[in-house]
Amino acid sequence: MAPARLLKCDFSSTLYNTGSVSCVCFVFCVSETDISQPFDAASPHLPWDHPFYDIARHQIIEVAGDDNYGRKVIVFNACRMPPQHELDHHKLLMYLKGTLDQYVESDYTLIYFHHGLTSENKPSLSWLRDAYREFDRKYKKNIKALYIVHPTMFIKTLLILFKPIISFKFGRKINYVSYLSELEDVVKCEQLLIPARVKEYDNKLRASLKPTTQPPMSPPRSPPLPNQVFGVSLIEGIFRRSANVTLVKDVQLRYNSGAAVDFREMEDVHLAAVILKTFLRELPEPLLTYQLYNDIVNFTSVSSDSQVMVMKTLLESLPEENYASLRYLITFLAQVSANSEINKMTNSNLAVVFGPNLLWGRDNAMSLSAIGPINNFTRTLLDQQHLVLLNTKSA
């Protein structure tokens, strides 16, 4: 399930990398012309007289087996694009469509290696715009994720240019990947046949990092210092108050593009608090999972002396990543409420502001009758966290 993937790492690193709101698009145009001659898209070795022979030989587009979720992986290597005048873009698109057509009926993943796209070989902006517009819905619907590897300013500029025309749903499928190692969560890198140029570039990128900086997806396992961002958890109404909407969006964008965010530079501590809530709120599946929805909503009917047992069993059935993230979050919130004399955020207050971000129904229409029980569950969890959450179970 998606949250399992999203929550792969410990909480802080997840927050830095996988906020679910992002958008940029790099999709390719499809013409109405039918591909009359079938071909095996998994192989670049087409007979020389095949209409797509001169496209396929560049190995720009490849099919690279299945990803870790059993979805077909289609790879697009920008570095293999020949200079503009040597490539018939129209034909490239037909070839792409021909390749996709064999897979779009089921889910697929598109990985786009951006490195190597230069002013020599990049297609025009207007072409890209038309591309997105002409692209049939069926291609967008079954694409489960688009990974843009080694994004640059160019692609980030595209993001801004295309923002008005990208559908929100599609935007959510787009992920930036700053280092090849991050792809390991999605697909085995060795099966991808990554162009040597891209690998070299990746090594160079890593080498240029300061020795202290870890690649984002392999953060130190030691827990961050308590309250490192919220050293200010003594602030009244922390997690209750809101923050500037524009700034929140700005910070989200920075996280999603892999940029560093330093909350100490920002004046408003509530901004960090809101980002944490927003992150949880915008997960594709809630942290407590749809699986547990009914059990949690009906938790009120559990007799009070067996509540801890029932809650413990429920939570231990969560995917490991969800459990680890929840444990981290709840342990942290318990520290916040320990200061409730000053910050006024008791467990019951925290439950009201966090409950609806931890669980919602599949139809996303939050009903008042469900919020009560969800908040009640959250409050009990906060009250009993020392009994409910295992200290030994680690991610």
Partner: protein, 198 residues
């Protein structure tokens, strides 16, 4: 349009901690507690007079801490009148009303016939971030009414609700029943000064 029923529904919106619940509780129960409890959603009912008869004034106190677009849309489509609350101590809280106002506008279409009151609460506070004229300017722009209130000192609270009812031109509503003035109403005699209807 909301169906015609015997209820007159008022919805109170605003960011977390601006005093929505305090205003509503001051109006409904006449009390003020210096407690700090975020709201999920509460609804209060009170009988008022309406067109020579009586009806139920239903006040929905919404949550400011998180947004559920679906729930918010539902409240707006069911509501007859709206109170948009910010705190005069927080410029940000006034900013946060903008998307809510836009939502009301989107759902109700023409807002000129819809009673809306922009309210700057906590007028007793001295750490002011929003000047009265800024609130007035915003109300002007939104073509809605404006008031500053204090739930703590009971400044302009009953007036707020009576003025809101007065804004509805399709009905003739009053907080008084049978012309008998309640205790709260006599307090309403004072302090008319701060209220201005745009």
């Amino acid at each position: 349009m909301p169906e015609q029923s015997n209820d007159y529904r008022v919805v109170v919106f605003g960011a977390g901690g601006v005093g929505k619940s305090s205003l509503v509780l001051r109006f409904v129960k006449g009390t003020f507690r210096d407690t700090y409890i975020p709201t999920v959603e509460d609804t209060y009912r009170q009988v008022i007079s309406c067109d020579k008869s009586v009806c139920t004034l239903q006040i929905t106190d919404t949550t400011g801490s998180h947004q559920f677009p679906a729930m918010q849309r539902l409240s707006i489509s069911k509501g007859h009148a709206f109170i948009l609350v910010y705190s005069i101590t927080s410029k940000q809280s006034l900013e946060e009303l903008k998307p809510i106002y836009q939502q009301v506008l989107a759902i109700k279409g023409n807002v000129e016939a819809i009673p809306i009151m922009l309210v700057g609460n906590k007028s007793d506070e001295t750490q002011r971030e929003v000047e009265t004229k800024d609130g007035e300017a915003q109300a002007n722009q939104w073509k809605c009414a404006f008031m500053e209130t204090s739930a703590k000192t009971n400044h302009n609270v009953t007036e707020l609700f009576q003025e809101l009812l007065n804004l509805d031109k399709k009905r003739n509503m009053s907080l008084n029943i049978d012309g008998k003035r309640s205790g709260k109403q006599s307090r309403a005699e004072r302090l008319k000064g701060k209220c201005s209807v745009m």
